[in-house]
Symmetry: C2
Subunit: 299 residues, 2 copies
């Protein structure tokens, strides 16, 4: 199958509706109506659903049907959503808008937003535990997947990167330090989405390693592309204002390297990711198309 023959738009559309349905079913019947409403407000607010789609595409690349890992896919989206809710809080990035509408703490209040985030983070691990209910996925694989998610999301990964990002605000940060921040803040979870797909598919270790390698490059490419969109993206399509990084004097690739060189970094990382994905042949085509989309997207 050639690059142009793969219908990425159709694939994304089909996967997104699968994820939307699963996410709707994922929030359990809660005794507290306000908490459930706030969780759903943020979880069902649209978005690219990139992480869950990557989990499924990685499992497919390893020969397992994507819908067999749907619980784990939703776990990644629940976790990603919690991170957005907490990042938007007044004590953190203090953002009023997200995906074109008020952030969770604006639509509800701070206490509710903190708790909705906490509950979504916890839900992610409930969903991971449930991924072993599917025939052919062992408890050992689900437990390892849960461990990978925890390591990627916690102090060694995403939360650590967020803390480093806050500390870097207003300070002079070099490219190496910036790369470290990105590796934690966004790279760890993107890499884990590919590795978890491989683990749940029971992939041999060489395949798992290849996906981790691809994930590392893809994670960096994703963040550089994000930084670039914050400079020259369309606020309408993004659902948020642009130029906020420059205003806050945030360390970003465009700020450090200039726009053109930042674009080159994104494409170099994409090439490295595609190279790591080459051995997956036809089964890896959705994943390779997703990698290209990560860099070339407009939102």
């Amino acid at each position: 199958m050639t690059q142009s023959a793969f219908d990425l738009d159709g694939y994304l559309k089909e996967r997104r509706s699968l994820v939307e349905l699963a996410l709707k079913a994922a929030v359990p019947k809660l005794p507290n109506a306000r908490l459930k409403k706030a969780m759903e407000y943020s979880l069902l607010a649209g978005g690219k659903r990139l992480r869950p789609i990557l989990v499924m595409a990685a499992a497919e690349a390893c020969g397992t049907k994507g819908d067999k890992v749907l619980e784990a896919a939703c776990a990644f989206e629940a976790l990603h959503t919690y991170s957005l809710i907490h990042d938007d809080l007044p004590a953190m990035d203090d953002d009023d808008f997200r995906r074109g509408r008020p952030t969770c703490h604006k639509a509800f209040d701070e206490a509710t937003a903190i708790l909705a985030g906490d509950a979504l983070l916890t839900l992610a691990f409930e969903l991971m535990a449930e991924s072993a209910r599917v025939k052919g996925i062992s408890a050992a694989a689900a437990l390892e997947a849960s461990r990978l998610l925890a390591v990627a999301a916690g102090g060694e990964g995403m939360v650590g990167g967020q803390m480093a990002d806050i500390e870097a605000e207003g300070r002079k940060v070099g490219v190496a330090a910036l790369k470290g921040i990105h590796a934690g803040k966004t790279g760890a979870l993107l890499t884990a989405s590919l590795e978890v797909g491989a683990v749940l598919a029971g992939a041999p270790s060489a395949r798992r390693r290849a996906l981790v390698e691809a994930g590392r490059h893809l994670g960096l490419a994703f963040q550089v592309a994000d930084d670039i969109l914050n400079v020259e993206g369309d606020p309408q399509k993004l659902g948020k204002s642009v130029g906020s990084d420059a205003e806050a004097h945030k360390a970003t690739y465009p700020a450090l390297l200039g726009l053109q060189k930042a674009k080159k970094v994104a494409h170099n990382e994409l090439d490295a990711a595609l190279k790591a994905l080459a051995p997956f042949k036809t089964a890896g085509e959705p994943l390779r198309a997703l990698a290209r989309y990560v860099v070339d997207r407009d939102c």
Copy 2:
């Protein structure tokens, strides 16, 4: 062994030092020093270590050595600590002191406290995943334990109870509603600590059910005792001020029933817990002593 023959003080001392050592080892080497410092500030601030000791005592009651479930025990303490950090935040209970020293957001700042809480919550599930590394604990048991922790801690349990508690502030709340709030806010995690001990010990389902039954009564007894301590406890021993519930017009058992009737409820719940624990015979003695301690403690 009679009630008086069991040396609870010695047992608590030995278990606490076991837990302290394990908690010190549990926070991983983090790339971010500030985050690690904030996590350790709250996690290693002393405290009763009741939940981890309950996990171990429940495993012992089911015939497994307590130190075999030390990872899961630490997971409960990490999770409990995160809940304290987030509860103390200005947007939540806005408390300046905890365990006799400044709360996490006072010692650091709000953003750091939110992230330290997030990282500890995530660490809890990393530790749960690692509990299967011990010989004799299967991946299936560890996965089920992780699921139980998630359900108890999330929107169906602790976080749901916290949300309901916030909503109840300043409103008229009856005993039934209060019981529901408590069941989520503190009961779910205490119950899960006993059930997880049973699951990791591979206990038969009758034993597991008995521990869940005991946990439900113990959880309620714990919260009523906590409410009573907020009325007549010693601020020095508690490491926090008393009378804050009444000041905030919080719905509590003493407020609704009066102090004497609240004490009667605590002891009735204790009796019900002891009854559920009776079949465990000698192996259940530490757990029964812990149940008495939960109601009769002075901090």
